[in-house]
C-alpha cells in the first residue's frame, strides 16, 4: 500500500495525534451537550431509593430508635438500623486506614451527620419524608472538637478501642498513648535533628494550622446496587475513584465471591479524593438490594457530602528550622497533631498513616530532619483524604514553604534567595532525602530563575517597598504581597514493595486489543473523573503503536472488562497506568515487528519502527504500516506467530515520580475590608514529558483555583458543640469565574528517568504548590509590619483581624 506518496514524515506524525500535541478532549462532545452518564442518571426497573437519618449531635448515646411511623408510611419498603446489620456483621466496616467505622450508629454517634438509620422507599421523596418520621432518642455526651483537648480528656470517644481492663490495645499503626489517640508515626533522626537545631546559630519556629476543608466535587457521592438473586451477581454502580479496590473490599466484607461482583464507575463529576473511600451509603445500598432483590439507589445531597464524606487536611504543624548565618539550612523538625475525626478513615497507603508527609523537606537539601505525626480522634466527621494532592503532600509542602518564609523573616533575607541557596542541585539527582525518599530528577535552579525573570521579581520588590512607603504616608490603604512557592510533589503511588492499600498492591494496568482494520481499544485499571484519560492515554498509545489516537477507544471503570488496577487519585494515573499503557503498547509493537519482517521478507532485526509503520532499515520505501500489520495479524497465516494483536501490562513502578514547579502570586490587599485582589499569578510546572499541553494547562487552572479556594476561604468549620457551620455552598467557598484571576502558565521539561515515557503527572501539582503561594502572598503583604505567620483560610475577616492586630487601622 503506497497510497501516502508525497506525505511527509511530519504530516504522518501530525495525523497520529500522539504525545505532545494539543488534542481536543474527546470526552467533551458528550459533557458539553449534557450527555454524560452519571450515577444519578442510572435508572433501573423497580429501583428503590435510600436516604439516611443522620445525627444532629456530635457526640451522643442512642437510647432508642423508633421506626414504626416510617414503616407505616405508604411506599416505605424497609428501615435498616445497626441491629439489622449486626447479624450480617455489617454494622461496622473496615476503613482504608486499618480502623473500623460504624456503618449505622451502633449505640452512639461520634459526629454530626453520622448515619443512624437507612430508609428504603419507592421514591426519593417518600424516603425523605420517612426520614422525618424516625424518632431517635439521644443522650448527649461531652463534645470534643479540639485534638489537643481530646488528648487530655477523660471522655472516651471510642469505647470499642479500650479493653475491658481499661488498657489500650495497639492500633493499626502501633501503640496508643491515650484513649483518644490513634497512632504516632515517626520518620527521620530525632536525636540528631534535635542536636543540630539546639546548636544552630539561626533557628526559626512556627506553629501553623492547616484547616479542615473538603474536596467538594460538583457531583456528590452515590451508588446504585443491584443484586440479581437468580444468578447471584451483584452489580454496583458508583462514584468510585478505585472501582477494583471497591470490588475487592465489597467481596471481603460481604462474603460474595469476587467474580460475582461487578463494579462500574460511570462518568464521574470530579473526585479530588472525595470518592476514594468506602462510605456507609454503599454498604447500606448493597444490603438493601440483597434484602429486597431490586436495585437501590443512594445519592448524597450537597450538605451530606460536605458534612460526612471525606474531609481533607486538619493538621496542626509545629516546626523548627535551623540554618547557618549564611542561610544554608541544617535541620528541620516537624511535629503534627492530626485531627482524624470519629473514625480513622484516611485514604493513605497502609504503611503511611500520615501519607507522604515525610516529603516535608521539600525542594531543599536539608541534611537532617525529623517528623512525628500523632493521629487523634475528635467528634468530627471521618476522612482525611488527599484533596487534589498525593497523600498529605499539600500539608507537607505548605509546611516547608511557610517555614522557608519564616526563616527568611528570622534572617532578614529575601525568601527567593533563601530558596535558591538551599535547592537540591541538578547534579544531586537521584537525591536521597533525609526523610527517606529518592527524588528521581529535577532542575530547580533553572525553573526558579525562569520564574523570577518572567515576573521581574526585583521590580516587584521595588514596587512593594514603594507601596509600603505610600501606605505609611497615607497615600494608599492597599498593601501588596508577593507570594513565592517552589514545590516538589511525590506522586505515582506506587511501588508495590512499600505501597499498598489494605494489602492491595498499588500497581496499575492496561490491556490493548488491536482490531483487524487498524483501530484499537485499550482498557485501564484507572478511572477518569475529568482528567481526560480517553484523550491522553490514546495519545500515549498513538505514539507507541503508530495508530491514530482518533482510532483508539479508551475504556475504564468496569471491573468485568478492565484489568485490575488501583484507580485514579494521588496523580497516579499517568505515572502508573500511563506507564502500563506505554509498556503494553511496546508489547504490541514487538509482535508487529515480527509480522512486518515476515511480510517484508526480511529478518526481524532488519526492520525498524517509524511513526506509523515498520520500514526496512536503509530502504524506507519498503514498509508496512501498522494498519496493514494489524490486518495481517488476524487474517494471514504467519508461521510461528499466533493470530491476533493484543497485549496486557501490569506496571509496578520502580519509584515515585517527583514533579515540581515554581509559582509566584502578586496580590493587593485592602487592609480595611480584608478583600484580596490577585493581580498576577505565574505558574511554571515541570511534569516531565508533556502528553497534552492543553490538558496540562486545564489541570493547572483547575488545581490553582482549588488552591485559591482553600487559601482564601474554603473550610469545614465546627462550633464548640460540634455543629458544622459550613454545610452549604453559601458558606463553603467554591470559587466561580468571578473570583478566579488570569493564570499565566509556563513549563520546563525534566523527564522522569525511570518512567517509560518520562512523564510525572500534573493534576495535583497546581493545588500542592498553589496553596502556599496564595498564603505566602497574604503573609508577605504584612511582613513589613512585623507579621511572621497568620493561619489560613485568609478570608476577609481574618485578614482584617491580622491588620487590626498589627495596628493598621489607626
Amino acid at each position: 500500500m503506497k497510497d501516502d506518496a508525497g506525505v511527509t514524515r511530519e504530516q504522518r506524525v501530525e495525523a497520529l495525534g500522539g504525545m505532545g500535541c494539543k488534542r481536543k478532549r474527546v470526552e467533551d462532545a458528550r459533557f458539553t451537550q449534557g450527555k454524560g452518564n452519571y450515577v444519578d442518571d442510572i435508572k433501573m426497573p423497580g429501583m428503590l431509593f435510600g436516604d439516611f437519618v443522620r445525627s444532629p449531635y456530635a457526640h451522643a448515646r442512642i437510647k432508642s430508635i423508633d421506626t414504626s411511623a416510617a414503616l407505616a408510611l405508604d411506599g416505605v419498603v424497609a428501615v435498616l438500623t445497626a441491629d439489622d446489620l449486626r447479624p450480617l456483621g455489617l454494622h461496622w466496616m473496615p476503613t482504608l486506614a486499618g480502623d473500623k467505622q460504624m456503618v449505622l450508629a451502633d449505640g452512639k454517634v461520634l459526629f454530626q451527620g453520622q448515619e443512624v438509620a437507612y430508609v428504603v422507599a419507592k421514591d426519593r421523596y417518600i424516603a425523605a419524608d420517612a426520614v422525618e418520621l424516625i424518632d431517635v432518642d439521644y443522650e448527649e455526651l461531652p463534645v470534643i472538637v479540639d485534638p489537643f483537648e481530646s488528648m487530655k480528656s477523660d471522655t472516651v470517644l471510642r469505647e470499642d478501642l479500650v479493653a475491658e481492663d481499661g488498657s489500650l490495645p495497639d492500633g493499626a499503626h502501633g501503640p496508643r498513648k491515650h484513649h483518644n489517640h490513634i497512632f504516632t508515626w515517626e520518620v527521620g533522626e530525632k536525636e540528631a535533628t534535635s542536636q543540630v537545631i539546639d546548636s544552630a546559630q539561626v533557628v526559626a519556629e512556627e506553629t501553623m494550622y492547616y484547616h479542615r476543608t473538603h474536596p467538594c466535587p460538583l457531583e456528590t457521592c452515590g451508588c446504585v446496587a443491584s443484586m440479581d438473586k437468580v444468578n447471584g451477581k451483584l452489580t454496583l454502580y458508583g462514584t468510585f475513584q478505585a472501582p477494583h479496590a471497591i470490588r475487592t473490599v465489597v467481596s471481603l466484607i460481604s462474603g460474595i465471591e469476587e467474580h460475582n461482583i461487578r463494579v462500574i464507575s460511570p462518568d464521574i463529576g470530579g473526585g479530588f479524593g472525595n470518592k476514594v473511600g468506602a462510605y456507609p451509603g454503599y454498604v447500606c445500598s448493597v444490603v438493601a438490594s440483597i434484602v429486597t432483590g431490586v436495585p437501590v439507589k443512594w445519592v448524597e445531597d450537597r450538605m451530606e457530602n460536605l458534612m460526612t464524606t471525606a474531609f481533607a487536611r486538619d493538621y496542626w504543624m509545629k516546626g523548627k528550622i535551623s540554618a547557618t548565618p549564611e542561610g544554608k539550612i541544617t535541620g528541620l523538625w516537624c511535629e503534627v497533631t492530626a485531627d482524624h475525626g470519629g473514625f480513622d478513615a484516611c485514604a493513605d497507603p497502609t504503611k503511611f498513616p500520615a501519607g507522604f508527609m515525610n516529603i516535608c523537606t521539600g525542594s531543599y537539601d536539608i541534611p537532617t530532619a525529623y517528623l512525628a505525626v500523632d493521629g487523634v480522634y475528635t467528634n468530627k466527621a471521618p476522612g482525611g483524604v488527599s484533596y487534589r494532592c498525593s497523600f498529605r503532600v499539600t500539608e507537607a509542602v505548605y509546611f516547608i514553604e511557610r517555614m522557608i518564609e519564616v526563616l527568611a523573616i528570622e534572617m532578614n533575607m529575601d525568601a527567593a534567595e533563601l530558596r535558591r541557596i538551599n535547592f537540591i542541585k541538578k547534579e544531586q539527582f537521584p537525591y536521597q532525602s533525609a526523610l527517606g525518599w529518592e527524588y528521581d530528577s529535577g532542575d530547580y535552579h533553572t525553573a526558579w530563575d525562569k520564574a523570577l525573570k518572567a515576573v521581574d521579581y526585583e521590580g516587584l520588590r521595588t514596587e512593594q517597598a514603594q507601596r509600603v512607603e505610600d501606605f505609611k504616608t497615607g497615600k494608599t490603604r492597599k498593601l501588596m504581597g508577593v507570594g513565592l512557592s517552589f514545590f516538589t510533589e511525590i506522586v505515582g503511588a506506587g511501588p508495590v514493595k512499600n505501597c499498598d492499600i489494605l494489602g492491595l498492591g498499588m500497581f496499575d494496568s492496561c490491556e490493548i486489543r488491536i482490531h483487524p482494520t487498524g483501530s484499537a481499544i485499550a482498557r485501564l485499571g484507572t478511572i477518569s473523573q475529568g482528567q481526560g484519560h480517553a484523550t491522553t492515554f490514546a495519545q500515549i498509545l498513538a505514539s507507541e503503536i503508530g495508530l491514530p489516537a482518533d482510532s483508539i477507544t479508551i475504556e475504564e471503570g468496569d471491573t468485568d472488562t478492565a484489568p485490575y488496577g488501583l484507580g485514579t487519585y494521588g496523580s497516579r494515573s499517568t505515572p502508573v497506568a500511563g506507564a502500563a499503557t506505554a509498556m503494553a503498547g511496546r508489547k504490541i509493537r514487538a509482535k508487529a515487528q515480527m509480522i512486518a519482517a515476515y511480510l517484508l521478507e526480511v529478518h526481524d532485526d532488519d526492520v525498524e519502527f517509524d511513526v506509523d509503520r515498520f520500514v526496512v532499515k536503509g530502504a524506507p520505501e519498503k514498509f508496512k504500516t501498522m494498519k496493514e500489520i494489524a490486518f495481517a495479524a488476524y487474517n494471514q497465516a504467519i508461521p510461528g506467530i499466533e493470530p491476533g494483536l493484543e497485549a496486557v501490562s501490569y506496571y509496578d513502578p520502580p519509584n515515585m515520580t517527583y514533579p515540581f514547579g515554581a509559582y509566584i502570586c502578586v496580590m493587593d490587599i485592602d487592609v480595611d475590608t480584608g478583600e484580596v485582589d490577585i493581580r498576577r499569578f505565574y505558574a511554571l510546572d515541570d511534569c516531565g514529558t508533556r502528553i497534552n499541553p492543553m490538558i496540562i494547562e486545564g489541570q493547572v487552572h483547575g488545581g490553582l483555583t482549588e488552591a485559591l479556594a482553600v487559601a482564601l476561604g474554603q473550610e469545614i468549620a465546627y462550633d464548640d458543640m460540634g455543629n458544622v457551620k459550613t454545610g452549604t455552598l453559601m458558606d463553603f467557598f467554591l470559587p466561580t469565574a468571578w473570583e478566579v484571576p488570569n493564570y499565566e502558565t509556563d513549563h520546563t521539561v525534566t523527564p522522569s528517568p525511570h518512567h517509560p515515557i518520562g512523564a510525572k503527572g500534573v493534576g495535583e501539582s497546581p493545588h500542592v504548590g498553589g496553596v502556599p503561594c496564595f498564603s505566602n502572598a497574604v503573609n508577605d503583604a504584612f511582613r513589613a509590619f512585623g507579621l511572621r505567620h497568620t493561619h489560613m483560610p485568609h478570608d476577609h475577616w481574618r485578614i482584617w483581624k491580622t491588620a487590626n492586630k498589627l495596628g493598621l487601622h489607626g
Binding site: 425523605a128 419524608d129 422525618e132 476561604g713 476577609h796
Partner: protein, 284 residues
C-alpha cells in the same frame, strides 16, 4: 434537600391567587422567582403545603417611569432591571445594585417583589427601597393598600404583609442627585457582609438631602435617618462623612456569622458607607 409534599397552583389572575390564600391562610405561600423560598423548602425549614406560582398571573410585570414616579411590577426580575435603559436613566442605583445581586442565572429568575416581600435581611432590595423611600402595593381580600418600605420590615422574615396579601408592585419617586450601592461580599452569590445604599442631592456645593440605608447589618434593613441628616447642610468633608458613619453605627445591630464577628462587621459597615457616600457625592 428534598422538600415535603405540597400542592402546586398556577392561577392566571390575582383572584385565583387570593382564593387559595384565603382558603389556606398561612399554609399557602406565593412563589415568585423562588430563590429564597425553594431552598428553604428543600431544607425543610419552610413547610408550604400550598404553593402558588405567580408566573402566569397577568399584570405583575412591567417597568414604567411616568410623572416622576418609577413603578416596578412584583415579577420584574433583576435581569429586567439591568436591561431597562429608561430605568437605568431614571434610577441608576437600581441597575448598580442589581448587578451586585448573586449571578446572572439567579438574576434571570430573582424578582423585585420576592426580594422585598420575603423579609430576608440579607436581600439587597429592601435596604435600597428604604433608601429610595419606596412604597409597596399589597392586595388582599379587602382590596389594595400601600405600605412605605420604611415601615414594612418588623424582624427577620416578619413584615407588615398579612398572610392573605400579595405584594404586587413597588414604586418610588425618580431619585435625584448622586447615588451609590456599595456592597462587600465574600464571593459571587453571597449575601452582603455589609452594604450601603446612598442617594445625595447637592445644591451649591452643599448637601441638600441625603438618604442612607444599610443591608444585612441587623435583622431588618436599616434606614438610618440620622446618618442622612448628619450630611445635610455640610459640604461632605471627611469629618462630615465620619459623623454620618457614626450615626449609622448607632442604628445597626449586626450578628456574628461566618462572614465574621460583630466587631468586623461594624468596621466593614463603616468602610462601605464611607466609600458609598464618597462615590455618591462625586456623582451628585
Amino acid at each position: 434537600m428534598i422538600p415535603a409534599a405540597f400542592e402546586y397552583y398556577r392561577p392566571k389572575d390575582m383572584e385565583g391567587v387570593l382564593a387559595v390564600l384565603t382558603e389556606h391562610g398561612d399554609d399557602a405561600r406565593v412563589l415568585a422567582g423562588g430563590h429564597s423560598l425553594i431552598p428553604m423548602m428543600k431544607l425543610r425549614m419552610a413547610e408550604v403545603p400550598h404553593l402558588i406560582d405567580l408566573q402566569d398571573v397577568a399584570g405583575l410585570g412591567g417597568i414604567s417611569v411616568s410623572d416622576g414616579t418609577v413603578r416596578l411590577g412584583a415579577m420584574v426580575t433583576q435581569s429586567d432591571i439591568i436591561a431597562d435603559a429608561v430605568l437605568a436613566d431614571a434610577a441608576p442605583i437600581m441597575r448598580e445594585a442589581s448587578l451586585q445581586i448573586a449571578d446572572p442565572q439567579v438574576r434571570y429568575m430573582g424578582t423585585v417583589g420576592g426580594n422585598v416581600a420575603n423579609g430576608d435581611p440579607g436581600n439587597d432590595m429592601p435596604g435600597l427601597m428604604q433608601c429610595l423611600d419606596a412604597t409597596f402595593t399589597l392586595i388582599g381580600p379587602d382590596g389594595e393598600r400601600e405600605v412605605a418600605a420604611r415601615d414594612f420590615y418588623e424582624s427577620a422574615y416578619m413584615t407588615a404583609r398579612e398572610d392573605d396579601e400579595v405584594l404586587t408592585a413597588v414604586s418610588f419617586k425618580v431619585p435625584e442627585g448622586g447615588y451609590a450601592y456599595q456592597k462587600q461580599k465574600r464571593k459571587i452569590g453571597d449575601y452582603a457582609t455589609a452594604a450601603a445604599a446612598v442617594q445625595i442631592v447637592k445644591e451649591g456645593g452643599t448637601c441638600a438631602r441625603a438618604s442612607i440605608a444599610m443591608t444585612n447589618l441587623s435583622d431588618t434593613p436599616v434606614y438610618s435617618e440620622a446618618a442622612g441628616a448628619a450630611l445635610v447642610g455640610t459640604s461632605v468633608t471627611d469629618s462630615d462623612i465620619d459623623a454620618a458613619v457614626q450615626a449609622m453605627l448607632g442604628d445597626i445591630d449586626p450578628a456574628e456569622d461566618n462572614r465574621g464577628p460583630v466587631e468586623f462587621k461594624r468596621h466593614a459597615a463603616a468602610v462601605i458607607l464611607r466609600r458609598a457616600i464618597a462615590r455618591a457625592w462625586s456623582r451628585a
